[in-house]
């Protein structure tokens, strides 16, 4: 055995070693945990770098998260600012740079609890949308933190639908300035991070008005706070939008503008410019900008959805082998709750999903890197497909992961409800990912437009992008499986998924056509089909995910048992999807009732097989105790002792109880005459 890296014990050394119930789970893994970790990291070298970054961050007390669950909103905000400032120093000290291999692991090591993330978006938007002159002026200032930026797009009344934004920027030829205004309450900027308390500047999106004509939404750099004493600039009303489900450390803000004037040069003008005489000039292609927005969606999949799911799985699985409850057989010891079939069914499919999404994320990253190269060569052919991919998968993965994290929370019974389990904060945080960077339903429908278009093209014999060529090759027929073992063949289930996706897309396309031919207006017809379209897109994404998982397994090395265990997980992921969406597969008889029973049988068999490797499978995610910050999920499994010691540090126990003196004492003492 290869022995776990010592840093995992960081919290637990005082608690008397690894809980025997957890230790026994690690004795005979069917595969090499260390090899699987390296696979997830994309190579041993990456694993080494990641661990070094995590170690450097976690050994620094400024970055400690131990009190996180006891802090108020104000305290969390302050800690995030402190960490962000300290991080600059740390990076310098460690010799980490933004282009170095360490950079991508910093955010993971901090669990994202750091301020000034929008400052980065501010900088990126200037780099992408600004002219060379603007970049030269602003980027050094931002890099040196001479100013702190935010990105003010969303308003109270408008989010995903950008054309609906109501903030105005009127060009005044006389003074060569733009006059920015918030004409009504719903136009107030609302939600931008770092804006409530920190930012001195913001890129503000507003409807450009030149001599009474509206030119649509454009970005403007607006100073909102004094660089000297941080007081609000004239005409600016700004503040924090109040408590949210999570993200207490971020000062999401509001911003109201009253006749705020900025010079003509403050409109970001790489693609459009207003000339001194008020002439509006558009130049170049915006498609590169479009690509950036699309790439952002892909970037969040790993950090904000897949990694949180891996953490939740680690906590829930480890706790499920430590927690014993009820007896499976009379006279025996109480059983580990992971030995109950229902508990396996709650958790193991999510472990499989975490791997499935990790691999689809790799696939998307490759696709986007290739896309980026093409775009550099001014070839924009891949854009529609990339856009469809980023929308559909962002929506599918965040939605799945959010409900899976919640399922992990509920699988931990009462203790999952304690903040000290780490699960509630993972849960409330991941929920936001279903909304930001595009509300999921709307994103599904954007992918639907692409799929319907491709389906029509494919039916007419026109060429379509590679990911959707399957739409053209519709093979009628039935699932050939004869017994439950046939459902462990990737070809069998991949084809079932493909069949379901094609059926749902083609039937919805047909319905859409029918409605339009029967005289229903195009837009009404679309709205009438949206529920089915969403279902079709989910089927498409599910199919691609299963297919990619199966293909990835094919390519894996057989050494160290990695391929075998990944094959089991791939089977589980696929069969779980069929088991949970049986109707979709039974609908046209592609899978028969008898075959569905075989699916169920194989699916339940797999649970028992994967059960044996459950703990090694989550150990391979390689989270330190400090990263997990969970009393239930620590590597040593000393759950109860840690819960008890940690609770005693709660301010409710360390500070006096003012309610006793004020209310309880009078209540208990006086002989309440009225009672």
């Amino acid at each position: 055995t290869e022995g776990a890296p010592t840093h995992k014990y960081s919290q637990g050394s005082a608690l008397g070693g690894v809980n025997p119930d957890l230790a026994s789970e690690r004795q005979t893994p069917s595969f090499s945990v260390e090899k699987l970790t390296a696979l997830l990291d994309g190579g041993e070298e990456n694993t080494r770098i990641r661990r070094a970054v995590v170690e450097a961050i976690e050994s620094d007390p400024v970055f400690s998260r131990e009190n996180q669950y006891f802090q108020s909103q104000n305290e969390k905000y302050e800690a995030a600012v402190r960490k962000a400032v300290h991080l600059q120093k740390k990076m310098h000290e460690m010799g980490w740079t933004e282009n170095g291999p360490e950079f991508k692991y910093i955010y993971r090591a901090l669990s994202g609890e750091v301020a000034f993330l929008l400052h980065t978006v501010f900088m990126r938007s200037i780099s992408v949308l600004g002219s060379d002159k603007q970049i030269t002026k602003w980027i050094p200032l931002a890099t040196q933190y001479q100013l702190i930026g935010s990105y003010a797009q969303t308003e109270l009344g408008h989010g995903t639908y950008l054309q609906g934004l109501e903030t105005t920027a009127v060009f005044d030829i006389a003074t060569q300035e733009f006059i920015l205004n918030t004409p009504k309450i719903s136009a107030m900027k609302w939600w931008p991070g770092d804006m409530g308390r920190s930012a001195t500047h913001a890129v503000v999106f507003a409807q450009l008005d030149i001599q009474g004509k509206c030119y649509g939404v454009h970005p403007f750099i607006v100073q909102i706070r004094s660089l000297w004493d941080h007081s609000l600039c004239p005409g600016i009303t700004a503040g924090d939008i109040g408590p949210k489900m999570n993200f207490d450390h971020i000062d999401n803000g509001y911003l109201m503008l009253q006749n705020v004037r900025v010079p003509r040069e403050n409109m970001l003008s790489k693609f459009c410019e207003v000339q001194p005489d008020g002439t509006y000039v558009r130049r170049g292609s915006q498609q590169i900008n479009y690509f950036t927005m699309t790439a952002l969606r892909v970037a969040l999949i790993s950090h904000e959805a897949v990694i949180p799911l891996m953490k939740a799985c680690t906590i829930a699985i480890r706790y499920s082998v430590v927690r014993r409850q009820s007896k499976l057989k009379p006279g025996e010891e109480e059983a580990k709750i992971l030995d109950f079939q229902t508990q396996q069914e709650k958790l193991l499919p999510h472990v499989a999903a975490a791997y499935a999404f990790h691999f689809i994320n790799n696939y998307l990253e490759d696709l986007f890197n290739r896309g980026y190269e093409e775009i550099q060569r001014e070839n924009f052919d891949m854009l529609p497909e990339l856009h469809a991919f980023s929308s559909g998968f962002k929506a599918m993965v965040t939605q799945y992961c959010a409900s899976a994290v919640e399922a992990c929370l509920r699988a931990c019974g009462g203790h999952g409800y304690s903040l000290l389990s780490g699960l509630p904060s993972l849960c409330t945080r991941i929920l936001a990912s279903c909304i930001y960077e595009g509300e999921n339903t709307i994103l599904f429908l954007q992918t639907a437009r692409f799929l319907i278009k491709c389906f029509m093209a494919a039916s007419a014999g026109h060429p379509v992008p590679p990911s959707v060529t399957y739409l053209a090759a519709v093979k009628p027929g039935k699932c050939p499986a004869k017994n439950k073992f046939d459902f462990l063949s990737p070809d069998t289930y991949t084809e079932a998924y493909q069949h379901a996706a094609v059926r749902l897309i083609s039937s919805t396309a047909a319905k859409l056509q029918d409605l339009i031919q029967s005289g229903v207006k195009k837009h009404d017809a679309w709205n009438e089909c949206t529920v089915q379209l969403v279902q079709a897109v989910k089927a498409h994404c599910h199919y691609i995910t299963v297919k990619n998982f199966a293909e990835t397994v094919e390519r894996l090395e057989t050494k160290g048992g990695i391929q075998r265990i990944m094959k089991h997980l791939c089977d589980l992921f696929a069969l779980h999807g069929i088991f949970s969406n049986a109707g979709v597969f039974l609908h046209d008889g592609y899978i028969s009732g008898a075959q569905m029973d075989m699916v169920t049988a194989s699916y339940l068999d797999l649970l028992a097989v994967i059960r044996k490797d459950a703990v090694p499978l989550v150990d391979a995610f390689d989270f330190t105790d400090k990263t997990l910050n969970s009393a239930l999920g620590s590597y040593d499994g000393q759950v109860y002792q840690r819960l008890y010691e940690w609770a005693q540090k709660s301010p409710t126990n360390t500070q006096m109880n003012p309610a006793y003196e004020r209310y309880l004492k009078p209540l208990l003492h006086k002989k309440l005459s009225k009672l």
């Binding site: 669950y69 302050e78 600012v81 400032v85 969303t154 109270l156 995903t160 609906g164 309450i185 308390r197 941080h230 503040g239 924090d240 939008i241 109040g242 408590p243 949210k244 509001y254 409850q325 499976l328 009379p330 109480e334 109950f340 079939q341 508990q343 929370l409 509920r410 019974g413 009462g414 409800y417 304690s418 903040l419 849960c427 929920l431 909304i435 339903t441 837009h523 949206t530 109707g583 609908h587 046209d588 009732g593 569905m596 339940l604 819960l643 008890y644 609770a647 540090k649 709660s650 409710t652 126990n653 500070q655 309610a659 006793y660 209310y663 309880l664 009078p666 209540l667 309440l672 009672l675």
Partner: protein, 661 residues
């Protein structure tokens, strides 16, 4: 001024919301009384306070304690004694949230009443009634929850001193979670394994003083405190309790049923079925709570969806209300239908319990097992569905749903523990399954069963034919709720039979317990199908009782939506069981979408009928007047981060950094 969109929505409704409110309350007079009590609280300046979203945990606890003490006094001042009226009053005072005296009022006092001897009542009841004694109910331990027999706390009888010695022998045996234990209570009813004359006699209840009267300091031998922050329940001081050789007099064991005599002789209780009654009662409350919590979330999401405009449906036209998007209707209206369905189910269980408890007092326990099995499953089914539904409502409100001003995050974190407490849901489903399998076995051996499972009787008739029960064709009429009840019945029968047969097959291969575990995923499905059937059946039955035609029409639409949506989400079952054909499934889905359009004009009126006062709703997005944006801004200005214009972090961190770089 009411928001123009909401005014238009209300004017367009086809029925009078008050009439529906009366039905939900169980009569016009009860609606009137509820509103009287609500007014008593809302107009009382003593019950006003700052928005809870801006308070720390400690401040929230303090507010709750303050209100609870006032509440107890005022309840007595107003002479409110009916349990349901007390429930309403409390719910208005605490705005549907938990409070530190919940366990004192809901568990400690009732347990004294039902399990204490007359002598114990003399000693404890009046002081507890007068709040000199504040008690909690300490059952759950760190290592054990639903599986009570596994509890580890011990109470060892010492005949020499006639005392019980209480101990928490392991870390896992520390009492963990009881509400009001952390900071509020000075007594607890502690459940512990009783040891006397060297033998373990199982779990018994003991009255244990934990804090010094007067100083409120923990007594020697007692370690007690708060378990720290949780997902929700901020105002509740859920606590821990560790006992080290803590002695209490023999007379502190609750001895109405079981007894320990001075010499240590143990006297057994007569029957343990009676404890079923309390469980049925509390689980029936959770079913009602599922309905109410989901109704609140639906009210917020639907009103907001009528106020919010976004994007365009048709080029050139103004931005539509988001409630006009089919996808938005599809998210919300099935949940609205679910909320109504659960209301009626909750009322049914409550009435049935009331009826049966009359029988119980006369010694007739025959109906109790079925009701017990049914409420376990329905508790799980409804709390799971409401939990997921509340979350869907929040997501349907987009970004603003994520702000605490929407009120939905609070509803969610307050409600979600009900999937765990009073019996973890999966365990509950398996209890129902045990009853279903037992009933199936009875039918197979030629006996007849009664009540909600009587459909299993048909299985024996089916067996004359060689085919599987599923193969029998049901002629399903998609516009007739009664016919849909039959479809759900056939599905339940199919699942129960399949699970029972799988269990039987496993029994040939392995031990009873392993076979049960290997079939448990199937068994849970069978219970879910059974519960689903019961809900559709009760909703349908309710329609016949409604006299007003307009109200009946709109409820019929909701009932159809509930039933058809449920089919469309579980098409695999209906197809595999041969209850519906492919073509019918396509029709079901089409019909669901038609119903969305039919219900759309009444959506706001249907949530208005739930009749939540704005203060109780606690949501800026769900305000009755729909003035959402102005009030969001007003609300945010009160946030603690806005207390000073320049936050201290600027001077502490930002400025020094800017100077250095």
């Amino acid at each position: 001024m009411m928001n123009a969109d909401l005014r238009r929505e209300r004017a367009a409704a086809t029925f009078q919301p008050e009439l529906l409110t009366h039905i939900l309350d169980g009569g016009a007079d009860r609606t009137r009384r509820r509103k009287e009590l609500e007014a008593l609280v809302i107009n009382d300046p003593d019950f006003q306070h700052e928005d809870l979203n801006f308070l720390s945990r400690s401040q929230r606890y303090e507010q709750a304690i303050r209100k609870s003490s006032l509440m107890v006094m005022k309840l007595r001042e107003y002479g409110i004694a009916d349990p349901e009226e007390i429930y309403w009053f409390k719910s208005f005072v605490h705005r549907g949230r938990p409070e530190p005296l919940d366990l004192h009022l809901g568990m400690f006092l009732p347990t004294l009443l039902t399990q204490a001897t007359p002598e114990q009542q003399d000693r404890f009841f009046m002081p507890a009634w007068n709040l000199e004694i504040i008690g909690t109910y300490a059952q759950t331990e760190m290592g054990h929850g639903t599986h009570l027999r596994g509890l580890e706390t011990t109470a060892t009888y010492d005949p020499a001193t006639q005392e019980f010695i209480l101990n928490s022998p392991t870390v896992t045996s520390i009492k963990w979670w009881p509400g009001g234990l952390g900071k509020t209570s000075n007594h607890a009813i502690v459940l512990a394994q009783l040891y006397t004359q060297g033998q373990c006699k199982g779990l018994h209840a003991f009255i244990v003083p934990i804090r010094q009267l007067g100083t409120h300091e923990p007594l020697p031998g007692i370690t007690v405190g708060d378990i720290g922050p949780k997902f929700g329940y901020d105002e509740m001081d859920n606590g821990y309790l560790k006992m080290d050789n803590f002695r209490i007099p023999r007379e502190n064991m609750l001895m109405k049923y079981a007894q320990v005599e001075p010499d240590g002789t143990y006297v057994k209780p007569l029957s343990d079925k009676l404890t079923y009654g309390t469980m049925v009662f509390i689980r029936s409350l959770i079913v009602g709570d599922s309905a109410r919590s989901l109704s609140r979330a639906c009210t917020i999401a639907i009103r907001y969806s009528a106020v919010r405009h976004q994007s365009e449906l048709k080029p050139g036209e103004p931005e539509p209300q988001i409630l006009d998007y089919q996808t938005q209707q599809y998210k919300l209206f099935p949940l609205l239908a679910t909320a109504y369905a659960f209301h009626f189910v909750g009322a049914y269980i409550k009435d049935t319990y009331r009826r049966i408890s009359g029988d119980i007092n006369e010694g007739d326990l025959s109906e109790l097992p079925e009701l017990h099995a049914l409420t376990a499953g329905l508790k799980a089914f409804t709390s799971w569905a409401a939990n997921a539904g509340i979350e869907e409502c929040r997501m349907a409100c987009g970004g603003h749903g994520y702000s605490r001003c929407s009120g939905i995050p609070d509803i969610y974190v307050t409600f979600t523990p009900s999937c765990t407490y009073e019996g973890e849901n999966t365990v509950m489903m398996l209890q129902t399954a045990r009853f279903l399998v037992k009933s199936y076995t009875q039918v197979s051996s030629g006996q007849r069963v009664t009540g909600m499972v009587s459909y299993l009787n048909d299985l024996s008739r089916q067996r004359i034919q060689p085919q599987h029960v599923a193969a029998r064709t049901v002629t399903v009429r998609l516009n007739d709720p009664v016919s849909l009840v039959e479809a759900y019945k056939a599905r339940a029968a199919w699942f129960v039979e399949a699970a029972a047969k799988n269990l039987e097959a496993e029994l040939h291969r392995r031990s009873k317990e392993d076979a049960w575990n290997k079939t448990s995923v199937d068994l849970v499905q069978a219970s879910e199908a059974h519960c689903h059937y019961v809900i559709v059946k009760l909703f349908t039955a309710k329609l016949a009782e409604i006299s007003n035609a307009a109200v009946r029409a709109v409820l019929t639409e909701l009932c159809l939506l509930y039933a058809l949506y449920g089919i469309s989400k579980n098409t695999g079952d209906f197809l595999q069981a041969g209850i519906l054909t492919d073509a019918q499934i396509t029709q079901v889905k089409q019909r669901v979408k038609e119903l969305l359009a039919v219900i759309r004009p009444n959506a706001v009126a249907l949530v208005d009928s739930f009749d939540f006062h704005d203060i109780h709703l606690g949501s800026v997005l769900g305000r009755y007047d729909g003035n959402v944006y102005e009030n969001m801004f007003e609300w945010a200005k009160k946030s603690p981060l806005n207390k000073t214009e320049v936050h201290e972090s600027f001077h502490k961190h930002l400025k020094p950094m800017q100077a250095k770089l």
